[in-house]
């Protein structure tokens, strides 16, 4: 089996000779030319996903005013940021809400503005109202500041998202007899609809199920700019799903990424404040990961199509909120994208929460960057834990 190295691929990118295709294109190339030829001819496969990713946020350093302040509480456009770190450092989390938000007191709450919207305003260069209080120390005497900042005025703005790019996700349905408002959208009663949220055959981690290429230091498309994989994401429990009856493999699930990048070079097109009725505020994040086709095995995984990738169907009316194990079966992304699936004998209309057109756009942008020699592949310092490592989730007792 022929092997390529990162160095060889980067040399080809430098000389403008690298063959770079999107995951969609690669599926067609493998069908046409066969796996062996496709894996020899193609250097890089680009992927993409654009969807709400709650575990996101940004570290900000505002710079010191005169006199100096040790910020004890911070608000950005009325949304609290965490400042239990150094004096003028703060972390604004995507799901944080204003203290006067009515939340779900008039259910379902609207959650029109939260931390994700602050991040969108910052990255768009819009003015953001900063309020901070301190308790006064000998070195940091100031007790209060209210001012307006933009992302250009502050020292650093670093997007650091502890869990993004979920490898796969539940297809959410509602078996109960009332409408429910979830992070998977509005789910109508009695199997009224089914929502899913990955870009399937374009989704980064579905194309590298055993983490043969993605690791710490992998350079990626993040929020319209360049970012890096910092670590595995929280709740990174990668596994290969299998059909409980036949034992047939149904594609991967469970992997996640922690990602980092300079917010100042990102774009509001790829970081959008997002609101889920009755659930909360969050941030939609655009991520694209390049997969180097180092060998035929990696090529085979990267060529997985919507028909070979599956999502578990989960009831959000009763089972999910009560952490009841099991599911209502598996459904392929090809079925999900067709517009209807069958659950418990009933035909159910489907809808995505993850934008497939935007995922395709990201894969296309990343492809162009690499073709133009503006983006080189970074060999990971260390690969992420794979299904073979057997990581599993813990239950919080209480």
């Amino acid at each position: 089996m022929s092997e390529k190295t990162y160095q060889e691929i980067n040399a080809r990118i430098k000389s403008g000779k690298a063959v770079v295709v999107t995951a969609e294109e690669f599926i067609d190339i493998v069908r046409e030319k066969g796996l062996t030829r496709a894996s020899q001819e193609v250097d890089v496969v680009t992927t993409g996903t654009f969807a709400p990713m709650c575990s996101s946020g940004a570290f900000l350093n505002f710079g010191h005013p005169a006199p100096r302040i040790k910020m004890y509480r911070v608000w950005l456009n009325n949304v609290p940021a965490y400042t239990g770190i150094a004096a003028v450092d703060a972390y604004i989390g995507a799901t944080e809400l204003p203290e006067d938000d009515p939340l779900n007191s008039n259910h379902p709450g609207e959650f029109r503005y939260g931390g994700g919207h602050v991040i969108e305003d910052l990255v768009a260069g819009r003015p953001v109202r900063l309020k901070a209080i301190g308790y006064g120390t000998d070195c940091y005497p100031r007790r209060e500041i209210e001012t307006t900042i933009t992302i250009h005025d502050i020292n650093e703005a670093i997007l650091f998202n502890p869990r993004n790019a979920y490898q796969n996700y539940n297809c959410a349905v509602n078996l109960s007899n009332r409408t429910i408002y979830t992070y998977m959208g509005i789910l109508k009663p009695n199997l009224g609809n089914a929502h899913y949220s990955t870009s399937g055959q374009l989704s980064p981690l579905l194309k590298d199920p055993h983490f043969k290429t993605i690791g710490i230091g992998t350079r990626i498309f993040l929020g319209g700019g360049i970012g890096y994989v910092a670590w595995h994401g929280t709740q990174h429990f990668p596994a290969i799903q299998t059909d409980p009856d036949s034992g047939r493999e149904l594609g991967p699930a469970g992997g996640t990424l922690a990602v980092i990048g300079d917010l100042k070079q990102m774009s509001p097109r790829w970081l959008m404040g997002t609101s889920y009725l009755g659930y909360g505020a969050t941030l939609s994040v655009g991520i694209g990961v390049p997969i180097p086709i180092l060998n035929e095995e990696i090529a085979r995984y990267a060529a997985a199509s919507d028909a070979e990738l599956y999502a578990p169907i989960v009831d959000y009316g009763e089972a999910y909120p009560n952490r009841k194990p099991g599911n209502l079966g598996y459904v392929s992304y090809a079925q999900l994208k067709s517009g209807k699936i069958v659950v418990q004998g009933k035909e159910v209309p489907t809808a995505p929460l993850s934008s497939y057109p935007r995922a395709r756009e990201i894969a296309g942008i990343l492809k162009k960057w690499i073709q133009n020699g503006e983006f080189y592949l970074a060999e990971p310092v260390q690969l992420l834990p794979s299904p073979a490592d057997g990581l599993t989730g813990k239950v919080l007792k209480g």
């Binding site: 609101s275 497939y356 057109p357």
Partner: protein, 133 residues
Amino acid sequence: MSPRKIVLRFGPEISDKPIIYRLVKDYDLVMNILKANVNPQKEGIMVLELSGDNYEQGLNYLREQGVTVQALTHEVVRNEQRCTMCGACTAICPTGALHLRRPEMEVVFDGDSCVVCQLCVKACPVRAMEVKL
């Protein structure tokens, strides 16, 4: 004349009467019912497209029966800059005005099929659907 979209509201005392039947039978109007609902208080609401030579006479008949008749003046529009084409609205929209074009998976908004129920306005995660008066 081209069909006009109107909203009819029926009080509980008339919501069980065959009023629409008379509109067709006696006034020869062409209709396309876009939305119809009777709530637990037996109040009815109907959104329909209506046309025909006896249009005004038909509306007068409705008013005589105690039906409130209003033109459908609100309009839902899509902020194209904001819409990410995710699709979260498409299984919520009751008329299919918002639907996915396959295989591209692009969200299409067909304003002619919209009955301004406004479910999408709240369901849209990035608030791309707006009501215009």
